[in-house]
Amino acid sequence: MVNKNLTEYYGSLSHLDNESWELYRSLELAKELTAGETLAKLGDEHPEIVALCADLGKPTRLIDFGNKYPDRFFNFGLAEKNMVTAAAGLATTGKIPFVATYASFLGLLCAEQIRTAVAYPNLKVRLIGTHTGIAMGYYGSSHHATEDISIVRSMANMTVISPCDGTSLADLIEESVKTYDGPIYFRVSRGREDSVYKNRNIKSKIGRANVLRDGNDIAIIACGVTVQWALEAAEILAAEGIQAKIIDMHTIKPIDVDCILQTAKEVGNIVTVEEHNIMGGLGSAVAEILMENGAHCKFKRHGLNDEYSIIGKPYYLYGYYKLDGKGIAEVAKKQL
């Protein structure tokens, strides 16, 4: 396909049913992938912002920045390792590079470049791994990332953030430009998730967990896309008279220690939820804090149990792995 007149192109497709869609139109569904849009808003005030993609500028919606600032937007093609390392070079010249691609090709494929060229020199590079966890559904394990939290959180200097929606991502990106130093790995889903914060007057701040619902029977600490389902689970549990405290632990490193210890003390029963291998992810991070502080409480890590996901459409998979509202409620009840 060569460059084309989009109006003419869409006109030529007018005979197709409305349910049919192609790549460009699918982007409209990714409404929670707000990184590009947020950066476009900040672009004038912060000329140091630049954006890098690897042939996934459109699916990651980083293109929303590129459309406004084409001279500060670089498409590296399918060459992620070069992109990440070049971002490090750009950061040494005073730029704040935002790098976005699918998490499987960022946190996993580029782990060494992230460690050696970004984290070790402690550079202000922002990595955005999209379509993380099992969000790519039937694309299969090559396109899943259920190890990325574990990998990047073991890198010194690295901040790890897994926001649950576009509103939260926008808050955290803005803070990361204005007042936060050092490298950050953002872990986000594919943008089609429900908005959690749209109708909540709660700001997201790096390193501070958000308590979205109070409850004393059990606490569910979630991150990323599972936060919306933890809230659903709380509704299901409430209907049965069980009050669940729901915590959005968007920042996994540095983790909100006070929130975890206070929850352990007040609720005494914690389930962590993540679309990640239970080894090394959010659950492990919370467990480390509980153990090292001698907190006594019931505790369970819920996620993928050291396995590669089966094939399926994303939302069926979330159901299969009990990561949807019904599944999380079930897991929580067993824990009571």
């Binding site: 630049v50 001279d71 500060r72 670089f74 590296f76 093609g77 060459a79 390792k81 070069n82 990440v84 390392t85 070049a86 971002a87 490090a88 070079g89 750009l90 950061a91 040494t92 010249t93 005073g94 730029k95 590079p97 060494e112 470049q113 050696t116 060229a117 070790y120 020199p121 402690n122």
Partner: protein, 279 residues
């Protein structure tokens, strides 16, 4: 040749010798080190730092300085004495080389050593870093160049070719790569293990301007660097520097085995004598 150029060549050759002798001295402190690959780069280091590059030793982070990134970070022991000689840090500090908590390790750390523009050690990253630095210069309209010293073995790394493709695609005429073509790696001779040849044709096919030079001939190196296209030009340059691993020490020139090595005191004396007698 002008008298000025002749004295410049003499100076650079002296500094290259100094780098080699100091390398021997520093490696003695460590107990082992990269002789072969440092000695193959000595004249390249000295020509860049005593003739080509713009920098300010008193202001190492000067935003308009030329950048130097070592793809082959393991040769840093040959660069450290030059930066010291130029006033980036004291001899006393350099003498802490590899001691507990020293800024100076076998591979350079940009956050610990003044004058080091990027931390390196993982072979294959350097050219990508320079792509980023050169893009930064372009965005800001700055006139500095980014120089990347790669080993020839480094060309085995796939990332080098990703970077080569992008440098040409982004029209980075402000990027200069130097390939220290010493023909050997840890395990042996490149042509026998995993061929990277022909280097020139490969880079030309990737859209680069390529020049070849004797990497130990300072006069030739000066001519090549003096003939670089304008910094605003659009084609990146690769300089293939024909070199000898272990250059300056007869027994090291004979085999790849001196990539990493150690010398007993009596052989240190022999090595230094040979280096001092280099023409």
């Amino acid at each position: 040749m002008s008298t000025q150029t002749e004295s410049k060549i003499l100076l650079i050759n002296e500094k290259a010798k100094m780098s080699r002798i100091e390398t021997v001295r520093l490696i003695e402190k460590a107990g082992s080190g990269h002789y072969g690959s440092s000695f193959s780069s000595s004249e390249i280091f000295a020509t860049l730092y005593y003739h080509v590059m713009n920098f300010d030793a008193k202001n190492p982070k000067w935003p308009d300085r030329d950048r130097f990134v070592m793809g082959k970070g393991h040769a840093a022991v040959g660069l450290y004495p030059i930066l010291q000689d130029l006033g980036f840090y004291s001899k006393e500090l350099l003498d802490t080389y590899v001691s507990l908590g020293s800024p100076f390790g076998d591979h350079p750390d940009m956050n610990k050593i003044p004058g080091i523009d990027f931390s390196s050690g993982s072979i294959g990253h350097g050219l990508s870093v320079c792509v980023g630095m050169s893009l930064g210069a372009r965005i800001d309209g700055k006139k500095y160049r980014s120089f990347c010293l790669m080993g020839d073995g480094e060309l085995h790394e796939g990332q080098v070719w990703e970077a080569a493709m992008s440098a040409a695609n982004f029209k980075l005429g402000n990027l200069v790569a130097i390939c220290d073509n010493n023909k050997v790696t840890v395990d042996g001779v490149i042509s026998e293990m995993m061929s990277i040849y022909p280097i020139r044709e490969k880079f030309e096919a990737f859209g680069w301007r390529v020049v070849e030079v004797d990497g130990h001939d300072v006069k030739a190196l000066i001519e090549v660097f003096d003939s670089l296209p304008d910094v605003d030009s659009e084609v990146p340059t690769l300089i293939i520097a024909d070199t000898l691993s272990g250059k300056g020490v007869s027994w090291m020139e004979k085999g790849y085995e001196w990539h990493v090595a150690n010398l007993a005191p009596v052989d240190i004396e022999r090595a230094i004598k040979e280096i001092e007698e280099m023409e």
